[in-house]
Amino acid sequence: MSPGTTVLGQAARWLLLVWMCVVIWAAFFVVHPAEGFKGQASRIVFFHVPTAWVATLAFLVSCVASVLYLTRRRKVDDIRASVSAALGLAFAIMATVTGSIFAKIEWNSFWNWDPRETSITILLLMYAAYFALRGSIADPELRGTLSAAYAILAFIAVPFLVFVVPRIYWSLHPDVIGQTRSGGGGFDAAHTLVLLASLAGFTGIFAWIFSVECRLEHLLRRRQEELLR
């Protein structure tokens, strides 16, 4: 029985819907715009940060599935790795677009090549490369192996991109994490609460899409194998 049809699965999806509605409402109508930001621009943080977080989470899932595939050699792990990478790419694009909109409002320029923006570009390139690799190998077993290896290598570069590069060099990027921890810089407890709630909601959305996509991919592959008999 798939998660979509169990009672628990259905309840979880309803909860997610309600949760996200509350988060969106709170983001737009409950909290006040943060200080130090232009106009209503700070509200985008409630959507931008979670998408960036999910993009990184998706890459972690892809990497773990890749490691499992290389050790266990089970097709389900290859499916999970490729589905998660595709989701990671989608959320990374969303993060880039929302970040770009914010940049236009705050600093009047869509793209500044500050280290965090550069890092997300490289991340996008890595996952585009992952799919280019997958697309160029006809042997399914070899495809799984090589793309798993690439996902792992790419993931190793991620900590450097996300943490080391921005720390070394001056950045335009508001240090949201630092601000919410210290409670200064315009972000108060209400903001933090909504942000955390949004993070949880987006993670739930990711988990749900991930599960559906994996099942779909599994069915597609099974169909393909049956056609070949």
Binding site: A138, D139, P140, E141, Q224, L228
Partner: protein
């Protein structure tokens, strides 16, 4: 030290290859499915089938050079007390392969090729071993001609020399007689009989009726 011992004992042991339910497909193309068989020491297992039926692909699966889409391949060694299977990563120690799809280095000479393969396998007595192997297949060790200047028959002989360098108990041959002149074919047949007499296991993929007479066990690919 331990590895040399392991290689040596494997070379003296007898290997069986057991495969069942093997299938291989590439995206939208099925090469073969449901292929099973067994190759035993002192015997020849023939793999036959029309061109494009997947003989070379099957050989690659049996050699561990690619992974099956379905099914299993086991290499079993008689030297192991429980007759248990040899892990895939060790297969290359006991296999010799001759195939048109697998080339030797054409920018090196015959002797340089063999020296390389001997060194990289960690074999002892490299110089004597390589020269002896070349002489055994009828190639002159003193000629420094690069392989790119060889005739197809000479290249085939060099590939055979390369395959037997480490005296493997399991030989996989893919159309070994191709490109050989009648004298070469006679030599080949004698060599195969010698291999079988020493208890080696042979898997032979071929369409040549003469070669098909060398064994009775057969896996026929439908194609």
């Amino acid at each position: 030290m331990l590895r040399a011992h392991a290689i040596f004992s494997l070379m003296r042991s007898r290997i069986s290859v057991r495969f069942s339910g093997l299938a291989k497909h590439f995206d939208m193309r099925l090469v073969f499915r449901d292929v099973s068989g067994e190759a035993r020491p002192g015997e020849v297992l023939l793999i036959t089938g029309p061109n494009g039926s997947g003989k070379s692909t099957l050989l690659a699966l049996l050699a561990g050079l690619s992974r099956p889409s379905r099914g299993t391949v086991l290499h079993l060694a008689s030297s192991r007390p429980d007759g248990s299977e040899i892990p895939r990563s060790d297969w290359r120690n006991h296999i010799g392969v001759v195939s048109p799809a697998m080339a030797v280095y054409d920018e090196l000479s015959g002797l340089e090729n063999l020296r390389f393969f001997a060194r990289v396998r960690g074999l002892p007595d490299i110089e004597t071993r390589c020269r002896a192997a070349l002489e055994q297949v009828g190639l002159d060790p003193t000629r420094g001609t690069l392989v790119r200047g060889f005739s197809t028959g000479m290249t085939q002989r060099l590939k055979i020399a390369q395959a037997m360098l480490h005296e493997p108990p399991l030989m996989l041959l893919d159309e070994p007689g191709s490109n050989l002149d009648p004298e070469g074919r006679q030599w080949l047949e004698r060599w195969v009989q010698d291999l079988l007499a020493t208890g080696r296991t042979l898997i032979l993929a071929t369409n040549d009726p003469r070669e098909m007479e060398w064994g009775s066990c057969r896996v026929a690919l439908p194609g």
